[in-house]
Each structure stands twice: as C-alpha cells, then as structure tokens.
C-alpha cells in the first residue's frame, strides 16, 4: 500500500465523513434534548436534496439559494411534525417514537416518489454542480473535484459553529441544561418545551443541509437516505449518543477509516463501520465520547 493511494483515500473518506458528521450531529442534538431516536433523519436528508431539485425546477433557483432555503424548509417541516405528532409521544416509551418516525420515513419516500414521477417524470433527478465549483483541483498527489473540497470545508465550519453555540453560548447553556435535567431547568423559569421544537428544527435542518450538499454528488432519488442513515446510526453509537463533539469527530473518523479500510481490503468497505460499532459496544458501551448514564 503506497502512501499516495492512502492519502487519496483519506481525502475521499473525509467527504463521506462530512455527510456522516452532519447527519449524526443532527441526531445527537435531537437525542440529547428530546431523547428521541429520529429514524426519519435519512428521509429528511433526502427531502433536502429533493427540495433543492424542486426549487430549481419550479422557481429556477440555483444551488446557492437552495443551500439556504432547503434546510429552512426541511427544518420548518420538522418543527411542524414535532408539534403535531412527536410531542404526543413524549410520555411513552421510546419504541413508539421509533415506530412513528419509521412510518413517517416510508410515507415520505413514497410521497416523493409519486411527486417525482407525476410532476417531473423522473425516478431519479438530475442536479448539477454550481459552475464555480465544477472541475478538479490538482493537489499534487491527487486530482480532486473542487466541489468535494468545498463539502469538506463547509461541513467543518457548520460543525464547529454548532459546537460553539451549544458549548459556549447562553443559548447552548439552556439547551444543555434542558438536556441534562429538564425538571431543574424548568424550576429556573425556562420553558423547556419551547426550546424542544426549535432544537428539533435545527437538528433536521442539518439533515436537510446534508441533502442539498449531496445532490450534486449522488443521484437524487426517494431512497437515497435509507442506506446512509444506517451507517449514521452506527456512527452515533460509536461516538456516544448525544455527544456533540463526539458525533463530529466520529463522523469524519469513520469516513476516513472506512475509505482506508476499503483500499486495503475492498470487501470490508461496507462492514467495517459495524465491526467498529460492535467493538466499541463491547469495550465502551456508552460510546467513545459518551458519559455512562449514571454520571448524568
């Protein structure tokens, strides 16, 4: 295995890692605050990509406006779902949420499929890279698409901003407090439930953003999130449920590890993440960055 190929794969892995990080970050924020395992996250990622495509078809909006608008649309939809459906299940055991979000996933996928076929007459939608980011850059050791470098950079910025807001600001302090101990937070006169909706919106908005970013790379189709979400859940488990920094670092790390692993021994590409997950569960059940339940 020469170092050049290894370097190439590291870069390649960072791109996949960027998507894992964005998605698991959203999952972590939601789980931390609401104790909901949002199975619908993959479908919302797909909705982000689909929104970008539909905005382009219906209003002629390009990639840049879509990059802002699509996550807002997905976020807003998420808040509506949280208020109307998810909020009704907070008192019940977590499996109800799982069933609900899973059902919503199936519904969303089929709805999007119907809309795509009836309105746009395609089962998989074309989406082009913005002009300024098309083409490749010669990095010396590898010729790499500009757009993918942009994805890595933007994702890093978004992740760091999210981390900063949650860990270093007053808003973040409220969110963290409501996460750690909702009843005590309420005692301080803070309406936790108000924050819950907003946080859910931000979490799924991040999934929408990942979707827009994926549109120029992967084919935009109703099931594009189904496979990705499974890997993302594994990433969340490895990183530790609810840990912000954990999900960011693990997202990128798993992306790189899987890519390098695939270069060394290709058949392992799809299973490496799950082997890793099994190992982490054995050695450190609360995840690499998670605190054991008792210490919360």
């Amino acid at each position: 295995m020469n170092t050049q190929l290894l370097l190439i794969q590291v870069f390649n892995g960072l791109v996949n890692g960027a998507f894992y990080a964005l998605l698991s970050l959203g999952l972590a924020v939601i789980f931390g605050m609401l104790r909901i395992v949002n199975f619908m996250h993959g479908a919302l990622y797909m909705l982000g990509a689909f929104a970008a495509f539909a905005l382009g078809q219906a209003f002629g909006l390009g990639f840049w406006p879509a990059l802002i608008l699509a996550p807002l649309i997905v976020g807003a939809l998420g808040m509506v779902l949280e208020r109307t459906l998810l909020s009704r299940l907070y008192g019940l055991e977590p499996s109800y949420n799982l069933l609900l979000t899973f059902g919503l996933t199936l519904l969303t996928q089929d709805l999007v499929k119907q809309v795509m076929l009836s309105q746009f007459a395609v089962s998989s939608a074309p989406y082009t890279t913005p002009d300024i980011l098309t083409g490749v850059v010669n990095l010396g050791f590898v010729v790499f698409p500009k757009y993918r470098l942009f994805v890595i950079a933007l994702t890093l910025v978004i992740c760091l901003v999210t981390w900063f807001v949650i860990e270093k600001t007053r808003v973040g302090a409220i969110i963290r407090a409501s996460t750690e101990n909702p009843s005590v937070t309420r005692a301080f006169g803070i309406d936790v439930s108000k924050w819950v909706t907003g946080v859910f919106g931000v979490g799924v908005g991040l999934a929408g953003l990942a979707g827009v970013l994926a549109a120029p790379i992967y084919s935009v189709e109703p099931y594009m999130g189904a496979e990705l979400i499974i890997t993302t859940f594994a990433v969340v488990v490895i990183g530790g449920l609810g840990s912000i920094m954990g999900s960011i670092v693990t997202g990128f790390a798993v992306g790189v590890l899987a890519a390098v692993g695939a270069a060394i021994y290709p058949p392992i590409a799809n299973t490496l993440v799950f082997i890793l997950m099994a190992f982490v569960l054995l050695v450190r059940p609360s995840g690499l960055f998670g605190l054991p339940e008792g210490t919360r």
Binding site: N12, V15, S123, V136, V142, P145, Y218, S219, E221, P266
Partner: protein, 407 residues
C-alpha cells in the same frame, strides 16, 4: 324506414355469425386469450418498463384484435407487480395462471424474478416471453421449453459494446461491476468480448457493493491506472451515480472514455444526455431508429403520454408475436403456441430479421451499438442516440454451438 332497420339488424347478425364462425376455428381456453404482464409497477424499473409495458401490451392486443376480426374482444391484458423480488414473482406467476387463467407471461424485469417466473411457467406449461430481464441463464443452464428470451441479454450487450469500443481504439479497459448475478455475468461476457478483439484489461475488474452510492475510490483508481475506457456494468440508479461521479472527477477530460454495459433511456434522462455524451452502449431498438419506429412511437406516446423505452417497445413486439402464434396454432394451449413460435421468422418495427431459435428459444434480432450525442446535437426532445453499428441478428447473440441449453 322499418325495412332499412330490419336490413341493418340482419346485416349485423350476419356479421356476428361470420365472426363467430371464424373464431370457432380457434380453440381458446375460457374463450379469451389473457396476456399477463408481470413487471415492476412501483420500484426502480417501473419507469423503463412497468405501467408503460402494460400499456404496450394493451396496444398490441388492440391492434391484433383490429387486424383479426375473429379475435375481436377476445384478448385481455392484466398487469401485475412483482416488486423485483424472485419469491413474489413466482407467487404472482402461479396466482395469475391458476386463478386469472393467464395464457402467457410477459416482460419480467430483474433477472432473478424472470428466472423464478420461468420455473413456474414450466411446471404449468404456459409460455413466458422475457423482455426486460437480461441473464443469459434463461437460454442456457436454466432454459426450459416454455421460456422465450426477447429483446436483449448480457451476451448481446457485451458482444456489441465490448467489440465496438475496442475496435474504435478503446483497447485498454478498467471495469467495475455490481457484485450480484447480473453484474458478474456481464463482467465475464464483457471481458471475453474485449480480449477477443485484442483489447486488454489494465487490471482485474473490481466488484462493487450492491446497491452502492459512492464510487469515488474506483474513479480515483481509474485516474491513476489511466485506461482508455472506464467500463461500468452497473445498472439503474447505481449507473446514474457512477456516471454522475465520472463527470465530477473529470475523467473524460483526462482522456478516459466511458463504456456502459446496460443503458436505458431513463438512465440518460436522469442526468441529462451531456453527462453521457460520447459513451457507447448496445440497444435492441430506440424510438427514432427510423420512420417505422417513429410512427409506432408516436402512437404509443399519444396513448401513454411518454416516449417508449426499448423495453416497452419490446413488450409490444413480443405480445404481437405471441398473439400471431396463437392465430397460427388456432389455439392458446401452451404446447401448441410454443410449437408455432419455434423456428418462426419475422420482422416488425422492433425486431428486424428476427428468428426464434427452436434449440434454446433465444429470439435473435438485429441490434444496434449507439453513441450518446451531446445535447447540442439533439434535433428534438428525446433524440439521444447516434447509430454506430448494426449487428446482424445471426451474430448478435450467443452462437448456438456455445449454448448450454437442453430441454
């Protein structure tokens, strides 16, 4: 006045009795011929076959009934969803034959579903015309007396594209294929076709997971290997992802061409034809092949609202061929129809110089190696292919001597 009406009634009655007399010549089970289109009505192949295939079969039935007064009102078409699953396909096939009295099964996208439906049809002695399924096993080790393979197969794709590309100077390849029956088979056939034309593989073909979305590591490998042709045996959505990323990594600008195993019109529509421009593929037909094809396509589009894919045109042709065999056999009994189909030579808008080989039931026809033209050169909507070569019926498919079929 009264007299005129009476004459009309008598004339009508006479006409009916003539029709009845004609139809009495043919022995039809339950007095109808029921064509069962077993296809993907909701999944990944529903756009290229699916409801369009059902419509195509219906059009074929209508045209046949219009042309043969004896069969007026006697042909019915049903469309059933097999969800691309082998087990669903065999259950549905049995149900259609036993409960709905279907006399023939059509279309069958997805090789595994086609194979399992063919198994059922064999035990029930009902003919199957596989149009959209591609595996060569249907006319080799898994062949049977009641199964016919229409339109295309993996050998025809590899033989057409592999040799055309290699002869045109694309003589060094790097191939990736999806790791399941269809992909492995296509890779084997493609490699053989390339070597036969004195081309070479720069490295062993790589199997990719199936389904898969990220092909970047294979594209980066291609970048460092610098073959003249990057061959992809992926189909459907996987193919769309490969081509999308092939463009993203700028392989074309680096002098690495694109060779595609199986290409449907819908794959091109999913990305726009510029993404595929210059790529070569082999197809049994396309809508603007010539005037005859255009005429039929216009009729189809008027009825269905969309241009036909080659799979849908194939279903029309296969249905017509089947119905004509029923007319010749004067019966819809499976064995009688099979006998009428075997050795039959014909030519229609879809299948040119067609011949139904009695030995393995491969339906051979002229096929075309095509190149995707850039959007700027398209003269009208849907104008995507330029014909590069016609491969004559006798040379397009597995030579009989190499067929492993015994029944």
């Amino acid at each position: 006045m009264k007299k005129a009406r009476l004459t009309a009634i008598i004339a009508t009655a006479a006409l009916f009795s003539v029709t009845a007399a004609l139809a009495q010549g043919a022995k039809l089970s339950d007095n109808v011929i029921k064509v069962g289109v077993l296809t993907d009505l909701s999944g990944v192949y529903s756009e290229l076959s699916g409801p369009g295939s059902v419509r195509a079969a219906q059009l074929a039935a209508d045209d046949f009934m219009a042309a043969n007064a004896a069969y007026k009102g006697k042909v019915q078409v049903v469309g059933v969803d097999h969800q691309n699953k082998a087990d669903v396909a065999s259950n549905k096939a049995a149900e259609m034959i036993d409960r709905q009295n279907v006399d023939v099964l059509m279309d069958l996208p997805t090789s595994s579903a086609a194979l399992s439906a063919a198994e059922i049809a064999k035990t029930k002695k009902i003919p199957v015309m596989v149009v959209t399924g591609g595996t060569t096993a249907l006319t080799n080790e898994k062949c049977n007396k009641y199964t016919f393979h229409y339109a295309y197969d993996n050998f025809m794709l590899a033989n057409g594209t592999g040799s055309a590309v290699t002869k045109r100077g694309g003589d060094s390849w790097y191939i990736i294929y999806p790791n399941y029956a269809f992909g492995q088979d296509l890779d084997r056939q493609m490699t053989a076709a390339i070597k036969e034309n004195k081309g070479k593989l720069v490295t062993a073909s790589d199997a990719t997971p199936f389904p898969n979305t990220d092909f970047s590591s294979y594209l980066l490998k291609a970048q460092s290997l610098k073959p003249k042709i990057f061959g992809t045996m992926q189909a459907g959505n996987d193919l769309v992802n490969v081509v999308k990323q092939y463009n993203e990594f700028g392989l074309k600008k680096q002098g690495i061409g694109l060779g595609i195993g199986l290409l449907f019109e819908t794959d091109v529509a999913a990305l726009g034809q510029d993404a595929y421009a210059g790529a070569l593929a082999t197809v049994p037909w396309y809508w603007n092949l010539d005037q005859r094809s255009r005429d039929w396509s216009a009729k189809f589009e008027k009825s269905f609202g969309k241009k036909p894919t080659w799979a849908q045109a194939g279903v029309y042709s296969a249905t017509t061929t089947y119905l004509q065999a029923v007319a010749r056999a004067k019966s819809d009994n499976g064995d009688a129809v099979v006998k009428a189909l075997e050795g039959h030579r014909f030519s229609d808008f879809f299948a040119r110089s067609a011949y139904i080989r009695p030995q393995d039931h491969r339906v051979t026809l002229d096929v075309y190696t095509v190149q995707v033209k850039p959007k700027a050169q398209a003269k009208e909507a849907g104008d995507i292919f330029t014909k590069v070569a016609t491969i004559p019926s006798a040379k397009a498919f597995t030579p009989l001597a190499e067929s492993k079929c015994k029944f």
